[in-house]
């Protein structure tokens, strides 16, 4: 669970770092990803991996389109407008999903049915697939951001947009790409999550809220912070569910978040940018 929060938090952070917008529709992109994958597998009879690929690519393209057509217009508007816009978009996606796929709950058939027993601990392949998927995605993104020309250009753009323009970096294209990556990651998270929570139109809501907490916990704007924040939130939830009275499972992460904001407002890995004059 923590890994999923981490992945969704990663999506929040990527978009925030690059464009300074907070995308509250992230959870709904996750939901759309899961649905597209389900549709490919269950309706069109495609194999799981093909469905996975189609869903990630489709949602990534959708993310880029969203940026180019809708969100680019609100850059520079008050933060409030952006928040309302993305929440509104999220609601639209949910409505769209319920019209297209209905409001039933679906099960995504996966190839991860078995279990492994290691030293008396039983690990289901489903959960392992989530962990492995997170690791692969994070590793891939890390390599992309640090070792490719366009990845470094994305970092540059997020650090100083105007200077990036001066360097001839096509900033608008970079924004769309960031949206695509972030939406693609959300879709992947949705598909990995699907066997655990099952697919329904509201699956993204709770996840996104906790992922947002994870992103804040990790220090909004820090990519490793987002992933670690996600895992921390997941663990807190787990232990709170096991050891504390009923009801604490869902509130414990937020209590920790509040404490965190009081003690260390910049988050675990947050950096306060300073500029030399």
């Amino acid at each position: 669970m923590g890994c999923i929060y981490g992945l969704v938090a990663l999506g929040f952070v990527l978009i925030y770092k690059a464009t300074e917008l907070v995308n509250f529709a992230q959870g709904d992109l996750l939901m759309l990803g899961a649905f597209v994958c389900y549709m490919s597998v269950a309706w069109w009879g495609l194999p799981y991996w093909a469905g996975f690929l189609i869903a990630v690519v489709a949602i990534a393209a959708f993310g880029a389109l969203l940026d180019a057509l809708v969100l680019r217009r609100v850059i520079g508007q008050p933060q409030f407008a952006v928040v309302m816009l993305t929440i509104g978009l999220g609601a639209m996606f949910r409505t769209f999903a319920s019209v297209t796929w209905g409001s039933e709950i679906y099960t995504l058939p996966t190839p991860f049915g078995g279990v492994w027993t290691v030293g008396g601990v039983t690990l289901s392949h489903q959960y392992l697939s989530i962990v492995a998927g997170t690791l692969i995605l994070c590793g891939g993104l890390y390599a992309f951001f640090n070792h490719t020309r366009i990845g470094i250009a994305m970092q540059a753009t997020s650090q100083n947009q105007l200077a990036a323009y001066y360097m001839g970096i096509p900033v608008k294209l970079i924004f769309s790409l960031v949206w695509a990556i972030s939406a693609g990651v959300a879709a992947a998270a949705g598909i990995l999550l699907a066997p655990v929570t099952l697919i329904d139109i509201n699956m993204g809501l709770a996840v996104a809220l906790k992922a947002f907490a994870a992103a804040v916990l990790g220090g909004f704007g820090s990519i490793p912070g987002a992933v670690i924040g996600g895992i921390v939130i997941g663990l807190i939830e787990l232990y709170a569910g096991a050891t504390l009275p009923e009801g604490f499972k869902d509130t414990a992460p937020y209590i920790v978040l509040l404490l965190m904001l009081i003690v260390r407002p910049q988050g675990l890995f947050g950096t306060l940018a300073r500029k030399k004059v």
């Binding site: 020309r149 250009a153 540059a156 105007l162 323009y165 001066y166 360097m167 500029k275 030399k276 004059v277």
Partner: protein
């Protein structure tokens, strides 16, 4: 004077309803150093931003190598060969020096040429080579300015727009940087449009100068002649005339007002 590589005619640029530039025209001849002087808020930076496409003029045009480039996106203008070294350096703080320079060469597709230019840049500023793997944010102000100039140079520009390279630097460092700016101009033939508050330094470096006040060009001449002018001496260089009784400043008025 040769045919100008960059010709700005009668541009008017606004910040919202406020007119920052009121019809500015100037020419930058190929391979020369041209400077625009002016006090705070005269509109110097706005002029450069208008040239590089960050701000769009309401009126007038900017012609680069015979082509109108006003109202284009800055990344397109940059691809044509105009590199902008922004005021306040604006390096990418969390990237290493080497990565910053690589971003300067973002638009280029010739790895050999880029490697050559990287060596050339390290030749101009050896300190950058020492710090190549350090984060740019950890450099001192002067080193960041060197990095900003180098980064612009990495694009192999035809014209370089320099916005206040002396800002916040020690006089010694300012002299060093200007020396290298001249070398870049002489050795690589890069045309330089320099915007400065440090009039003394700028006038000694440049070939031709314009004086900008409240959004208008009020004086234009070769730098040598500008250095001789009374008003420039008094208001930009701070040299007061030693009259018999010592002239009182508030009685003297600028000739162009």
């Amino acid at each position: 004077m040769a045919e100008p590589i960059l010709k700005v005619s009668n541009i008017e640029t606004y910040y919202g309803p406020i007119m920052a530039i009121r019809g500015v025209s100037f020419d930058v001849p190929k391979s020369s150093i041209v400077t625009i002087l002016g006090a705070n808020g005269a509109g110097k930076t706005t002029v450069l931003k208008t040239v590089s496409g960050v701000m769009d003029p309401q009126k007038g045009n900017v012609v680069f190598e015979g082509r109108e480039i006003q109202r284009q996106d800055p990344d397109k203008v940059m691809r044509l060969g105009i590199s902008h070294v922004p005021e306040g350096r604006e390096v990418f703080p969390f990237l290493s020096v080497r990565e910053n320079l690589a971003m300067g060469a973002y638009t280029r597709r010739d790895p050999d040429g880029v490697a050559q230019d990287l060596e050339a840049v390290f030749g101009y500023f050896p300190v950058l080579k020492e710090r190549a793997d350090q984060r740019a944010g950890s450099l001192s102000g002067g080193e960041q300015q060197m990095l900003a100039i180098s980064r612009a140079l990495m694009a192999r520009p035809k014209v370089m727009l320099l916005d206040e390279p002396s800002l916040g630097l020690s006089p010694k460092l300012v002299r060093d940087i200007f020396e290298i700016v001249v070398r870049i101009n002489r050795e690589r033939g890069v045309t330089i449009l320099l915007v400065e508050q440090n009039a003394n330094m700028a006038l000694q470096t440049a070939d031709y100068g314009y004086v900008l006040e409240v959004g208008r060009i009020v004086m234009a001449d070769t730098c040598q002649r500008l250095l001789e002018k009374e008003d420039i001496k008094e208001f930009y260089l701070g040299i007061k005339e030693q009259g018999a009784r010592g002239k009182r400043r508030w009685k003297k008025r600028k000739t162009w007002r």
